[in-house]
């Protein structure tokens, strides 16, 4: 191809490129340094591709900075004195308390408290008196407090889709554990499973607040297509393709949609809707990818596909089905 010898020291060159990058980003950087970097890059196209690759990947980690508390400029603020050992600790600063909401529903006049639930394999649609609508997915329970200027919903567990009638004077608030989602005019999906909370915004905006003991109030605004996952004290925000969000709402039509989904995820999804559980026997099988649209209650079709399309072994054992290689 060229006179250049074939690459045989890629790791070494990667390390050199990484060194340039960290020097440029974290230390004093003069014009002479810039010139030296340019010279190094011009030396070989191998240097250049290594540098471009690392620089691009490193650029993707920029989103990490979004986890920094906004109010204190980073240095010497909320985390003064102690080095933050992990990102988990770092994100703790993003938390706020949702407990305040509990004080409200004791008030005698106006707001009415109600409880709604959808049992395993079922779904429910609720029209609230303020014009908003809530769809409940399988195994979900919510408590609502609507009226007298109050618009609060507690998601006890499960998954619910909210289509909120916007009213700037009376924000619509969803409380899930120690997190609080405030509608800024919107359609959004909230899923609470164990200690994990997932908020997906389909339309409009929501504000997500959380609380950690003693932490100063922090909040994150989520835009359409953005999904936040909160677990313990961590909060991650990322973007989803519109199609993937639509797929997530398939349950409102009674279907689950898989698109190169791992079998492990697909099975977990099915198990949410059915008493009869599917169990995967080994890690290799769990990592296989599967696609397609299935009715949430149509286990048979799903098992059929794993058996005949993926060529897996299927064994029925009473109230569960075991899938293996």
């Amino acid at each position: 191809m060229s006179e250049r010898p074939i690459v045989s020291n890629a790791r070494e060159i990667d390390a050199m490129a990484a060194d340039w990058l960290q020097r440029r980003d974290f230390w004093n950087w003069s014009e002479a340094d810039e010139a030296a970097l340019e010279a190094w890059l011009s030396e070989s196209v191998v240097h250049r591709v290594a540098f471009v690759r690392l620089q691009t990947g490193w650029g993707r980690t920029e989103r990490l900075a979004a986890l920094r508390p906004a109010s204190d400029g980073g240095i010497g603020g909320a985390w003064r004195g102690q080095v933050v050992p992990t990102l988990i600790r770092a994100t703790a600063a993003l938390c706020v308390c949702g407990v305040v909401g509990f004080l409200a529903f004791r008030q005698p006049a106006g707001p009415q408290e109600k409880v709604y639930a959808a049992s395993l394999g079922n779904r429910e649609s609720i029209n609230l008196t303020d014009g908003s609508q809530i769809d409940l997915n399988t195994n979900t329970s919510v408590r609502t407090l609507i009226g007298g200027g109050e618009r609060k919903v507690w998601l006890e567990h499960g998954e619910a889709y909210f289509q909120v009638k916007h009213d700037a004077a009376h924000p619509f608030v969803v409380i899930a554990g120690n997190r609080r989602i405030t509608d800024l005019g919107t359609k959004f999906l909230v899923r609470r499973e164990g200690d994990e909370l997932k908020v997906s915004v389909i339309e409009g905006k929501v504000q997500l607040d959380a609380a950690g003991a003693g932490a100063q109030p922090q909040s994150t605004e989520l835009n359409p297509g953005e999904v936040a996952i909160a677990k313990n004290e961590t909060l991650s925000v990322f973007s989803h393709a519109q199609k993937s969000l639509t797929d997530q709402l398939g349950w409102r039509r009674g279907v689950v949609v898989f698109n190169h989904t791992t079998l492990a995820t697909a099975v977990a999804e099915f198990n949410r809707y059915n008493d009869h559980k599917i169990v995967i026997a080994d890690a290799t099988t769990a990592n296989l990818a599967i696609g397609g649209t299935f009715r949430t209650t149509d286990l048979e079709s799903f098992i059929d596909v794993t058996q005949h399309v993926l060529g897996l072994h299927v064994v029925n054992q009473g109230n569960k089905t075991v899938i293996s290689r």
Binding site: V7, A10, F26, L54, V84, F238, K243, S244
Partner: protein, 180 residues
């Protein structure tokens, strides 16, 4: 059309790098000796970049995989390594080029969560330096003061952390951002 280095860099970042997970999979599939793979990857990148300097390939994906295939064929011919599997698989490579790669999968990945997992895999002190630098936005000098270590050590930590994070990020297809 010929472009300047900055434009080629941008083209490379936009069109070629997102293929990395698929490219690595392709190389691993078709080459027995996995210790060569990183070198192969860089060699493929270098060849693609060299070609783009002359003329930017119209179909980047096909070009990248054709380059990878040619590289493997070259290596077999030169007897650089003699993997029987690779030799017998050469015809299969033709097919693999057109097969849909994982990058066509529009499953969006939760990048931050992956970053977090990647961070957690770094040695503790190295992770600390990266967190201070990347999240708190401290300078290298400030990191050194905060951690009470030499500036040279901070450099080493940042270098290692940067390399590892990027490696992990590229090992899966990037988060897909689509028009909504």
């Amino acid at each position: 059309m010929t472009l300047g280095a900055a434009e080629i860099d941008a083209w490379f970042a936009r069109e070629v790098l997102p293929l990395e997970a698929a490219l690595m999979q392709f190389l691993q599939h078709n080459w027995r000796n996995h210790s060569d793979i990183t070198d192969f990857r860089q060699e493929v990148y270098a060849r693609v970049y060299e070609a783009a300097l002359k003329k930017v390939p119209e179909r980047p994906k096909q070009f990248v995989f054709a380059t990878a295939r040619n590289l493997l064929i070259d290596c077999v011919r030169q007897g650089r390594v003699v993997p029987i599997e690779a030799a017998s698989d050469l015809e299969a490579l033709e097919v693999a080029v057109d097969a849909p790669g994982p990058e066509q999968t529009v499953i969006a990945r939760d990048e931050l969560r992956r970053l977090q997992a990647a961070l957690d895999r770094l040695p503790p002190r190295c992770r600390e330096a990266v967190v201070l630098g990347r999240i708190e936005g401290l300078s290298g000098r400030a990191i050194a003061q905060r951690m009470g270590i030499a500036e040279g050590t901070v450099s080493e930590y940042l270098k290692t952390g940067l390399c590892s994070l990027v490696e992990i990020l590229y090992s899966e297809p990037p988060t897909v951002r689509r028009k909504l």
